[in-house]
Symmetry: C2
Subunit: 589 residues, 2 copies
């Protein structure tokens, strides 16, 4: 225990009568009837120390100088508390330490906020004084959980024969790396490294090299604006394997995550996670990462309403779009016309030009558009939506992607608002059969939906020329409670397919060889089939900690407003430094 | 086992009769008497596969197409080898697999070098084809050992209550960060991050925050020329603790390292490592990281020779310098006059203006300078150096630092040359009581010998003004076989001492506050005493692997000549990228 008998929060009842040495911080001091009581805190918790003039006048005199957050060394005897003074909220609440000697190791100014889970400090202040924030149990426990998560992951993967291998952080830059951080090299003037957005290429080269099972808790970088759910540097659990099928990889991840949930959260999740194709997820939930903890599924009504008198619906379907709705059970009374207008505004953010609605009562459908539906259509709507008295029906009619986005977002919002989500649930879900390519209408070209190394379904290869949007990828995303935890895929491991892929993406053969020749060359030297996955550690810890703030899971996060401790934000550099890098600033700051 | 029955190198004798599926690479193919023999290899080792037309004509026909490094899926039956064909050099040498079916999963071009531990390829070629290099068992085993080392370290530290906490890689730049990599921010144009040379400040802030026990396998960066023993990005085992004494920390590291040696190397090292002050190490070995696996210690002869007729010696001592020698036992016959001239040239690299020598025979001392010593001095020299018939005595007379450097380097060279070093030994050593400051004569100022956060001996604080060079640091280096494995110290945790330290280092109070105010401010909020250590992982793995090439311990090292796989070296960036960063190149490449 290195100079202390126990951690404060772990002084056991069995130590009554024992002389102990404790070290820690003053959480609180109370003076009461000539005695001084101090709550002494370290990372393990709190123990009460009593200063009694009968025991040591000197200690009491020192105790009189003590303020909150002073660092103390206390020597004293553990005694049982008297019956009336037992504190059941405290692990050490049955005992206290009668101080015989105390040393002030270091003093403390009054902290700018209270060191407790509940704090009135703004996040900016908390981050500026992050070292005080760490002393709040909720933050410390989150850091500890992060440690436990990576430990559990490491132990699992080690047991499966995976090797933890570090890949470079200073990597080759490419002219296309739009979101790469660039690092000018002093030793090679005029040349730049790039910080990796993922170790993708390195882990594939490890597979070419016969390493077979690689993992890394890998730091990755993206030079983008800060957002609530995004940090410029982030950490992923990065995994790659050879000779394993998609089923093998998914099954292994299910084992890993279910063991993790049990060890870290004490929660049993099913050993096999539900699976859903991308098409099904988009169709039922309007999302490629659906939160399956609640219903409110999207129902396609296009067939029913395509000939209805409501022109908005009919023309949407006629134009190749869709009409879909969600049935908000029993919510008719909860949403006024004004509330629904607000929902429509919300849906508009996702491109919906309008939000049609109906309420259901004993007599049937009510609302401005009710009149457009003949009795047969009304019955079909009620039946398809399983609508009953008191339900609120919300409709979006638009092209497919807008319907999904708007109703999907609305579903998520209503699920939260109406308290439909059980926060104790951890619903894992695989989303599979992703489209390989996405068409960018503005640029008039295809992009890789995941990345250009993703293996297409072999039976879809023939469509790469004729109808690229039809090609499915051997890709799988792991979703937890509506968050994308991570994405994986089998990779292309044959040069001709990789060349074809680059060609579909608009690379000339020369450009493809110039940029990715090292990989395609490697493929020619006996490359095994391989695939893997990358899971976002920051987000995983956030979800396990029951937090919605990604920054709370990171010891020293970056923020737009507070330059955390001044150690963690970009700053100015000197002319001499720039000159040494062969660079100059285009305009002065 | 995910689609295979065993790893190739692990097919057990007990599986004879079993039908197995194997996957791997072709190490070698031999055609013999109508049969084809293939050594099938994966990362675990090799197994022999036999293709016999009696068993499967089709498999044999496929096997005829097979070349080295093809990737195969083999189905066959394990059989015991006939007595005469057992291969005792192979773990699976008692069995072979009779192929019933084989699939060529991927083909391979002829590799540019042989996939085996012994290779004639230059390192440049090996690094260019690093993915083939990984297939050489010696490289794979080194990567595996690196995994085992970090695993062992993590397990040990986890058991001691340390938390693995990630600190930022994008940190604040300072105008003094001469060897920092700088990273321009796209989001904050004209501002730069710096990559950390170590997580020092972050881990101290974690201690201020009451985290108490932190560790990280941390990537660090230094923008310097590549050298054989230095990489621009390197990894350290980074540890920090609160409330622990120097003894506590050293003892804990001894436990960690001795457990590591046992688990990873099967080697028992003493639980307590020898300790030596910096002064003693310099005096006895002429090095602050002595290799204690052999003798050849430096012996101070200044007192004996200061009045001798040999002016070089006498005047060195008179001028405040030293005369020291090493006795190379029994080496008189091994070193001709020409050899000794070569040694003198070697010593000259370290500043020695000359290398005096004597040989010992039955009659006494022989050599050009023997005549300068009267009988009494001769006897004193012989006695002090424990010189005997056949010994070679090598002398350097100069100022203290030159004597240490030159004789220290000579000692190391002779130890190797003469085979005095037992390569099976792992000699750990603590070097303690370092000077806090080093005086730079050119600049006329003091520098921190470790870093400016190192705690001086309290009893030496009074000399900070009067005689800074006299102040000792509470610092400790861990040395293994003549390599510095890492350095640690207790840290300053009181603002006044930290301010004093910056002042001694030449900072104005304003400059100190500007750059390190965040830390000194933090010290005012209840900072516990703390300290730690950082061990070089790359070097540790190199020493445990018995290698002398740091690059072999790193999956994707950087080299000056070969741009490893083109993924790992700096490159050019586009004008558009520079413009976005608000930068321009001063001169075109």
């Amino acid at each position: 225990m290195f100079g202390r008998s126990y951690f404060c929060g772990e002084v056991p009842e069995s130590s009554v009568g024992e002389k102990v040495t404790l070290k820690g911080w003053v959480q609180k001091r109370r003076d009461l009837g000539g005695l001084i009581f101090i709550d002494l805190r370290d990372r393990s918790g709190i123990v009460q120390v009593v200063f009694n003039p009968d025991l040591s006048k000197e200690a009491l005199e020192t105790a009189e100088k003590i303020r909150n957050e002073y660092v103390l060394d206390v020597v004293g005897t553990v005694v049982a508390r008297e019956a009336g003074t037992v504190n059941d909220n405290l692990k050490t609440g049955k005992i206290e330490v009668q101080a015989e000697a105390v040393t002030i190791i270091n003093e403390a100014k009054t902290p700018p906020f209270t060191i407790s889970d509940k704090t009135d400090a703004s996040e900016d202040v908390r981050l500026k004084y992050r070292y005080l924030d760490f002393r709040r149990p909720v933050i410390f426990e989150t850091l500890k959980m992060r440690h436990q998560v990576t430990k559990q992951v490491r132990n699992f993967l080690d047991g499966e024969g995976f090797l933890d291998i570090e890949t470079p952080i200073l990597t080759k830059s490419t002219p296309e790396g739009a979101r790469d951080y660039l690092v000018p090299s002093r030793v090679h003037p005029g040349e730049f490294y790039a910080l990796p957005q993922s170790p993708q290429l390195f882990k594939q080269l490890l597979m070419v090299g016969g390493v077979e099972r690689y993992y890394q808790i890998a730091r990755c970088f993206r030079d983008e604006d800060l957002r609530a759910d995004r940090q410029p540097e982030f950490t992923q659990i990065d995994i790659e394997t050879s000779f394993m099928s998609q089923e093998d990889i998914m099954g292994m991840m299910e084992n890993m995550m279910s063991q993790l949930m049990k060890e870290v959260k004490g929660v049993e999740v099913p050993k096999a996670f539900p699976r859903m194709t991308y098409d099904e997820a988009m169709s039922r939930f309007g999302s490629d990462k659906p939160d399956t903890r609640f219903g409110l599924e999207l129902v396609d009504l296009s067939e029913i309403v395509k000939d209805s008198g409501f022109k908005v619906f009919a023309s949407a379907v006629a134009g190749g779009g869709q009409v879909k709705a969600i049935n908000v059970k029993g919510a008719a009374d909860k949403y006024s016309r004004k509330d629904i207008d607000a929902l429509a505004e919300f849906a508009a953010v996702y491109g919906a030009k309008g939000l049609a609605w109906l309420k259901v009562d004993a007599e049937g459908l009510k609302g401005p558009i009710a009149k457009f539906f003949v009795e047969e259509d009304t019955q079909a709507l009620v039946a398809t939506l399983e609508a009953a008295d008191g339900d609120l029906l919300l409709f979006v009619a638009d092209k497919k992607s807008v319907v999904a986005d708007a109703l999907g977002a609305l579903r998520q919002k209503l699920g939260k608002e109406l308290g439909l989500i059980d926060p104790s649930l951890f619903n894992f879900l695989w989303v599979t059969d992703w489209p390989l390519l996405e068409y960018d209408e503005e640029e008039g070209r295809y992009y890789a939906a995941h990345h250009p190394f993703t293996m297409p379904f072999r039976e879809d290869l023939e469509y790469l020329d004729s109808d690229p949007s039809k090609v499915r990828a051997q890709a799988y995303d792991l979703v937890l409670n509506g968050y994308e935890l991570g994405g994986g895929s089998l990779r292309i491991f044959e040069r001709p397919i990789q060349e074809k892929m680059f060609s579909v993406l608009g690379f000339s053969p020369e450009a493809a060889q110039e940029q990715f020749g090292f990989l395609m060359n490697a493929f020619e030297y006996g490359t095994p089939p391989h695939g893997g996955i990358a899971l976002g550690l920051d987000r995983l810890v956030m979800l396990l900690a029951g937090s919605t703030n990604l920054r709370d899971t990171i010891a020293f996060p970056k923020t737009a407003s507070a330059s955390c401790l001044l150690t963690n934000a970009p700053g100015e550099v000197s002319e001499a430094q720039l000159k040494e890098l062969n660079l100059s600033l285009n305009v002065n700051k």
